[in-house]
Symmetry: C2
Subunit: 335 residues, 2 copies
């Protein structure tokens, strides 16, 4: 009797190897018809299903886990949505875990995703450098970091937007529009993306012979705080020459616009404003909000492509992929 | 030798039964210290770990699956975020699957979640009545429907906002503010929530002696369509007396506001506007947007409570829980 391989089974049944695997593991997408067809071929050929099924189960689940800090954030949910679509089209299912920015939860979910046998992981954002060591030496789970600096660069591929470029171009745009005292508004300075944005902003000031002074050019402001408006007005009292604000994200930018309006400080006439993320809200405000748009489409495509390479033991580790951003100019930063 | 139970182990180790189970299954949250402590007690007592572990594994994974049609939608991501928080506090982990409103994906993810051994399912929204039959007769997986009508009411608990009330009160508010020709703007009429909202709107008109005529009172409009503005203007041309619009969701309401503004039709002076969902964008627009707020907090709490009851073979099936909504009045519907 011929020793049939899973490839043979797939060929005889007229389906893909992935489909045979899914039928054997009863995992994922196939019609009842396909299931019957594949099982019939397995029966007829005497294919050693159990052994292979076990083997397959150890090797492939066609499931990818995603760790995301906050799915109610527009940028995150947009990336996750796109990752899921691309992965599904390639025959992979996605399970998403929301860590609420808690490192305790992150650890718990990493264990769970590993326990559920995911083939790979995509980790999105977060304040501290990301570290993950598969608990089994037999099945090392490959992972990709999006906007999250990996602790061991040599273990992963690090994908991020060019945050530096977005901030640099925003600051330059404010200066080009006549701002002499541009300010960066931000809260958390710990994440890689925040650090890069701050660096880009500072470098643009330097290039334009403005010497960066935190007291004059850095508005430290927390969207969650009840003192938001107080902190803003306090800063403007100390720095009445402020004529442009680059906000590290649109959430802060929208809230700034609201509070400035409330205090009769005209945007863009008195203060020009540029945000980051290009959230949908920005096109409904008066004035409409200028913002830096991240290319989530390209980020998601790169992430899936490189992760599937790693899963198939191809692709080069230790790389960083930087995806360009674009400045979307609207009324809040133009005359 | 005494035959120790998992309860005894928990008591001796000074932890909960759930924690012992998690350590045995290496699933979820526990510190290294806890792990050592539990394993030491198991060793000392000679607790028959393997048998019980297998048993436990069949019975409890402390993982809940959530099916959501579109996590980039504010209401959905808000509910999911809250479900996760409440479940995590109760010792359960959550895995989220995004179905992109595709029934093919929904079926695939149901199989996958079942394969991953979730203890229960929460299904959010969707156009068709939801049907789910556990593939194993031994382990029936309990499920809760949020805003999604179940096909077999006797198998589940159905939780939803009082969509009827939200629409009814919105229409009454428009009429109270002087609108004589209120219109409902919507696209899809298939989902339970859409049907209920339409019904509430119609009944409010009836109560106020306005006879509902689809040609005059129903603006069928698709947010995804390029003809959005054309369809709006076309409707207003045929129905120039329109003086109030209740929009079935904020996405449509915001887009309506933008297009009306662009065509110099003043909101609220010429047309008053009320949306549904109270998305964050609504407070940044000019005028700010009136909207119906769903009580996601209460919905999430009811869902977790009833699901955990079902998992523990308590609680009554076949129930429907209707959660009241509240009308948040802002500038778009007031004089």
């Amino acid at each position: 009797m011929k020793n049939y391989s899973i490839k043979d089974i797939a060929e005889i049944a007229g389906v893909s190897v992935a489909t045979v695997s899914r039928v054997i593991n009863d995992n994922g997408r196939f019609s009842e018809e396909t299931r019957k067809k594949v099982l019939k071929v397995i029966e007829e050929t005497g294919y050693k299903m159990n052994y292979s099924a076990k083997n397959l189960r150890m090797n492939k689940s066609f499931t990818i886990g995603i760790l995301v800090p906050d799915i109610s954030n527009y940028f995150f949910s947009d990336v996750v949505q796109q990752l899921e679509e691309i992965l599904f089209a390639k025959g992979y299912s996605t399970i998403i875990c929301n860590t609420s920015r808690s490192s305790e939860k992150e650890l718990a979910y990493l264990r769970i995703l590993e326990g559920k046998g995911v083939d790979g992981l995509i980790v999105i954002s977060g304040a501290e450098a990301f570290q993950f060591d598969s608990s089994s030496a037999e099945k090392k789970i490959p992972y990709i970091c999006i906007d999250r600096e990996p602790k061991k660069k040599e273990d992963t591929v690090f994908i991020s937007s060019n945050h530096y470029q977005g901030a640099f171009e925003s600051a330059e745009e404010l200066i080009r529009e006549g701002c002499q005292h541009p300010v960066i508004a931000m809260h958390n300075q710990k994440s890689t993306s925040a650090k890069e944005r701050l660096k880009g902003f500072k470098d643009a000031l330097k290039k334009n012979s403005i010497s960066f002074n935190p007291k004059q050019h850095l508005l430290s402001i927390d969207i969650e705080s009840e003192d938001f408006e107080h902190d803003l007005l306090n800063f403007l009292k100390k720095n009445p020459e402020t004529d442009g604000i680059f906000s590290i994200n649109d959430l802060i930018a929208l809230e700034l616009m609201l509070r400035l309006k409330k205090n009769h400080i005209a945007v863009p006439q008195k203060i020009k404003l540029i945000g980051f993320d290009d959230t949908p809200s920005g096109k409904y405000t008066t004035p409409t909000l200028s913002s830096v748009k991240q290319n989530t489409d390209l980020i998601a495509n790169h992430a899936v492509e490189t992760l599937l390479e790693l899963i198939n033991n191809k692709g080069e580790l230790g790389r960083q992929i930087v995806v360009p951003v674009s400045l979307v100019l609207r009324e809040s930063s133009t005359p």
